[in-house]
C-alpha cells in the first residue's frame, strides 16, 4: 500500500501540487541518470511546521522538493504538520527509532534533543562563513558543546500589527512607544469596543514572544547568568506582572486566555481587535486576500495596517524573543549524508532566494547577508522593519545559557502561565512565587 508509485503520485497530487508538477517528482528521479546509484530510490523525509505563510509551504512542496529531488537523485518528501505537533512527533520518532530524517527544530530544541541529533558543523560552518555569519541567537540555541547540532534556517520576526486609523482616533500617531502609552491607548480603544488582542494561552508563538520579552524588558529573568540560580522572584518581575494585569483588564480582549496562535489573526481580520503581536502574517494575508478582508468602511483592510516593534520602551531595556528555527538531522536516520546534502542544497543562494522572497519578510534568513537583499527595498513599507529584526532577538534562559532546562520551562509554559494566572485574579506576588517554585523544580532539581 505504500511503495506503490500510483499512491505516491496521488499523494503529491492531492497535497496541493498541480497535475503537471505531480509527475515531475517521478520524472525527476528517472531523469537524474547521473545521480549516484546509491541514492536512487531513496526517500528523504523532512518534517516541518505549517508555515503561517501558506505560499511558502506551497513553494517548498511544489517547486523546492521536486527540484531538490532532481539535484540529489532521491525523492525528497516534505511534510508539514501543525507546529504544536512537532514535538510529540519528534519524541515518538526518537523512541521508536524510526521516522523522518530531518525534523524542524524550533527555538532551542537542539539542546533538548542533543543525544539524538547528528553533528552538522560541516554544513553550518560553511554556510555561515559564506553568508556573513549567523545571528547571535543561534549560538546559544543551536550549538551544543561547540558543535552545531542544528542547521539554522530562518527567524520569524514578531511585531505588533495595528490599525493606524483607530489609534489616530485616540490621539496616538503611529503606535505607542512606551508601556504606559500602550496602556492608555488600549484602554481608550477598549471602551470603543476595539480592545488589544493578546493570547496568554499555551501557544508556541504569540504567547511566549509576548511574555518573555515583557519580563526581560522590565528587568526580570528566569535565572542568573550561570543558569543555576532561579532569580525570577524579583521586584522587576512583579512589576511586569502588575503591568500585565492592568493592561489586560483595561485594554485587552479577555477571551485571549483561550486563544491559540490563529485566533488573533482571525479576530484582527474580522475587525474585532485594534492590534496584536504577531508575525507579518496578519498584514500579508490581509493584502493577499484583500477582496475578502475589509474594514468597516468597506476598504481593503491592509491599507490600514502597520507594524510596530515589540517590546516597547520605557522600562529597563528592549529584549525581543523571535521564533528562530532550523533543521536537525536525526541520528537514527539511514540517510544522514543525503540529509546533509539536502540542507546544503536548501541554503544555496539560488534555492533559498525564492522561498525567502515568497515569505516577504515574514521569515528572515538565519545569516546576516540577506539583510542586503534587494527585496527589502521593494516590499511594502509596513514590512520593511523586519529586515533587521533578527539582530536583537534573545532566547529562553536569557541572560543565562539556553539549556534543555530552559526548553523544559518553555514547554511547561511557566512564564506564560505566570501572567495568565495573574490576569485571572491571582496576586502578582503569588503568581511570581508560583513561577519561582516551578522553575526551581526544573533548574535546581
Amino acid at each position: 500500500m505504500d511503495a506503490n508509485p500510483v499512491n505516491r503520485r496521488q499523494f503529491i497530487k492531492v497535497s496541493g501540487a498541480a497535475a503537471a508538477l505531480a509527475a515531475s517528482g517521478i520524472e525527476g528521479i528517472l531523469a537524474a541518470r547521473q545521480a549516484p546509484a546509491s541514492a536512487q530510490g531513496t526517500k528523504l523525509h523532512v518534517v516541518r511546521w505549517n508555515d503561517f505563510i501558506p505560499e511558502a509551504d506551497k513553494w517548498l512542496k511544489e517547486t523546492g522538493a521536486p527540484a531538490a529531488s532532481k539535484a540529489l537523485g532521491a525523492e525528497v518528501q516534505i511534510e508539514t504538520i501543525n507546529a504544536n505537533d512537532v514535538q510529540p512527533r519528534i519524541t515518538a520518532a526518537i523512541q521508536s527509532g524510526a521516522g523522518a530524517d530531518i525534523f524542524f527544530m524550533m527555538y532551542n530544541w537542539p539542546q533538548l534533543y542533543q543525544s539524538a541529533l547528528v553533528d552538522v558543523s560541516d554544513v553550518a560552518g560553511r554556510i555561515g562563513k559564506e553568508q556573513g555569519g549567523f545571528y547571535g541567537v543561534f549560538e546559544p540555541s543551536f550549538r551544543v558543546g561547540g558543535k552545531w547540532l542544528g542547521m539554522p534556517h530562518s527567524i520569524v520576526g514578531n511585531a505588533i500589527a495595528y490599525r493606524k486609523s483607530w489609534f489616530k482616533e485616540v490621539g496616538v500617531d503611529g503606535f505607542p512607544k512606551t508601556w504606559d502609552q500602550l496602556r492608555k491607548a488600549t484602554a481608550a480603544l477598549k471602551k470603543k469596543g476595539r480592545p488589544f488582542g493578546q493570547t496568554l494561552g499555551h501557544t508556541f508563538g504569540d504567547a511566549p514572544t509576548w511574555a518573555y520579552p515583557l519580563m526581560w524588558s522590565f528587568g526580570g529573568a528566569e535565572t542568573d547568568k550561570s543558569g543555576k540560580k532561579v532569580v525570577i522572584n524579583s521586584k522587576e518581575t512583579v512589576e511586569s506582572v502588575k503591568y500585565m494585569t492592568a493592561l489586560w483588564k483595561e485594554g485587552c480582549d479577555e477571551g485571549g486566555l483561550a486563544w491559540d496562535d490563529t485566533n488573533n489573526n482571525r479576530a484582527f481580520h474580522a475587525g474585532e481587535i485594534c492590534g496584536a503581536l504577531n508575525g507579518a502574517s496578519i498584514y500579508i494575508v490581509a493584502k493577499r486576500q484583500q477582496d475578502k478582508i475589509k474594514d468597516d468602511k468597506g476598504e481593503p483592510m491592509w491599507r490600514d495596517i502597520d507594524h510596530a516593534l515589540y517590546p516597547l520602551g520605557g522600562a529597563k531595556g528592549q529584549f525581543p524573543l523571535y521564533f528562530s528555527n532550523g533543521h536537525g538531522v536525526m541520528k537514527y536516520s539511514k540517510n544522514q549524508k543525503l540529509a546533509k546534502d539536502f540542507l546544503t542544497w536548501l541554503h544555496k543562494k539560488e534555492n533559498f532566494e525564492p522561498w525567502f522572497k515568497v515569505c516577504e519578510g515574514y521569515s528572515v534568513a538565519a545569516t546576516t547577508e540577506w539583510e542586503k537583499h534587494p527585496m527589502w527595498g521593494q516590499i511594502d513599507k509596513p514590512l520593511q522593519m523586519f529586515r533587521t529584526a533578527a539582530r536583537s532577538t534573545q532566547i529562553f534562559g536569557h541572560a543565562g545559557p539556553s539549556s534543555a532546562k530552559a526548553t523544559e520551562a518553555f514547554s511547561k509554559y511557566i512564564v506564560v502561565d505566570m501572567y495568565a494566572k495573574a490576569v485571572q485574579g491571582m496576586k502578582a506576588e503569588d503568581a511570581v512565587k508560583w513561577a519561582e517554585a516551578e522553575l526551581k523544580k526544573i533548574y535546581e532539581a
Binding site: 500500500m1 505504500d2 499512491n7 496521488q10 499523494f11 492531492v14 497535497s15 496541493g16 523525509h45 518534517v47 511546521w49 505549517n50 508555515d51 503561517f52 505563510i53 501558506p54 509551504d57 511534510e79 508539514t80 504538520i81 501543525n82 507546529a83 505537533d85 510529540p88 512527533r89 515518538a92 520518532a93 523512541q95 521508536s96 527509532g97 524510526a98 521516522g99 523522518a100 496562535d261 490563529t262 489573526n265 482571525r266 481580520h269 474580522a270 475587525g271 474585532e272 502574517s281 494575508v285 475578502k292
Partner: protein
C-alpha cells in the same frame, strides 16, 4: 399502559423528548451548516447586523471539494475503514472464543483469568504507548496500519469478551448438552450450535468494536506519521489546522464525512446492537 390526559402527555413526554432530540442533534446541524457556509460568512463578526448563523443563503460545496481534492482525506477514510474492519475481526475472533470459554467451561483460574482480562481494560493508553512504541519498532511496524491493527484489540478484546460472555450465559446449556448427546464434540457443538444463535451478540459486539476503533486517537497519533497513512481523527486534527488558520469549513466537512461511515453501519445494525445489549444485560 395507563391512560393520561393530553396535556400531561405533552408536558411530560413530548416536550422533554423534543428537548433531548434538539440538544443531541444540534451540533450535527451546526457541523452541516458550517460545512456548506462560504468563508466570508464564517468569519463575520458576531455583532454584525446581517449575521444569520442558523442558515445560509449561499450554500457552497467548496469545502467538501477542497477536502476531497486538496488533502488526503479519501485516503484517511480508507485507512480508518481498513484498520477498523481488521481489528474488529481479530477482536471478535478472540473475544468469541474467550467469551465462550469463560462462560461455559470450568477450569482452574477461570475467575482469575476473567478478571485479569477486564483489568487490562483499566490500563491507561497514555502509559502504554511509549513501551508499545518500542515493541512496534522491534517488529518494524512503525508507520504502518498493522501497528494499530495489533494494538487496537488491546481495548477491544476485553469489551467483546464481556459482551459475548453475558450473551452466552443467556443461551441455555441444554442446547449443547443435547448436541453432545447426539455425538458432537465440544468444539463442534460450540461452533455449529452456539455461535449461530449468538449472531446478534456477535454483531453488536462487532459494531461496538468497529465504532471504538474508528474513534481511537492517541495510538494513531503516535504510531502513524506519514500524511497518507493517517486515520480520519488524526488527519483532521493535524492536517486541517494549517498554521494560522483553522479551516473550519473543511474541518466540519471532514467531521461530517468522517462520521458518515460509522453512522451508516449503525443504521443497519442498531436493532442488533440493542438486542445484543439486552441479552448481555440479562446475563
Amino acid at each position: 399502559m395507563l391512560i393520561e390526559r393530553r396535556w400531561k402527555k405533552w408536558v411530560y413526554f413530548y416536550l422533554p423528548l423534543a428537548v433531548f432530540v434538539i440538544g443531541t442533534l444540534f451540533p450535527f446541524y451546526w457541523m452541516l451548516i458550517t460545512a456548506i457556509r462560504p468563508d466570508a460568512e464564517l468569519y463575520r463578526s458576531w455583532r454584525a447586523v446581517n449575521n444569520a448563523p442558523f442558515w445560509t443563503l449561499q450554500p457552497t460545496l467548496s469545502h467538501f471539494q477542497d477536502l476531497m481534492t486538496r488533502t488526503t482525506f479519501p485516503q484517511w477514510l480508507w485507512n480508518t475503514f481498513f484498520i477498523a474492519v481488521v481489528s474488529t475481526a481479530i477482536s471478535l475472533f478472540c473475544g468469541l472464543l474467550a467469551g465462550y470459554a469463560l462462560a461455559r467451561l470450568k477450569f482452574p483460574m477461570a475467575g482469575l483469568l476473567g478478571t485479569s482480562i477486564f483489568v487490562t481494560y483499566l490500563v491507561p493508553p497514555t502509559l502504554l504507548f511509549i513501551p508499545l512504541a518500542d515493541i512496534i519498532r522491534n517488529f518494524q511496524l512503525g508507520n504502518t496500519p498493522w501497528a494499530l491493527i495489533l494494538t487496537y484489540p488491546t481495548f477491544l478484546i476485553p469489551f467483546c469478551t464481556w459482551l459475548l460472555m453475558g450473551y452466552f450465559k443467556t443461551i441455555p446449556r441444554e442446547l449443547e448438552e443435547c448436541a453432545r448427546i447426539d455425538g458432537a464434540t465440544r468444539f463442534g457443538a460450540m461452533v455449529r450450535i452456539i455461535f449461530p444463535i449468538a449472531v446478534p451478540g456477535i454483531l453488536s459486539a462487532g459494531i461496538f468494536a468497529f465504532t471504538l476503533s474508528w474513534n481511537e486517537f492517541i495510538y494513531a497519533l503516535i504510531f502513524l506519521s506519514s500524511p497518507e497513512k493517517k486515520t480520519v481523527p488524526v488527519g483532521v486534527v493535524s492536517e486541517l489546522i494549517r498554521g494560522d488558520i483553522y479551516f473550519w469549513g473543511q474541518l466540519m466537512a471532514g467531521a461530517l464525512l468522517g462520521s458518515i461511515p460509522v453512522a451508516v453501519v449503525y443504521s443497519f445494525f442498531v436493532e442488533y446492537y440493542v438486542t445484543g445489549l439486552t441479552g448481555s444485560v440479562k446475563g
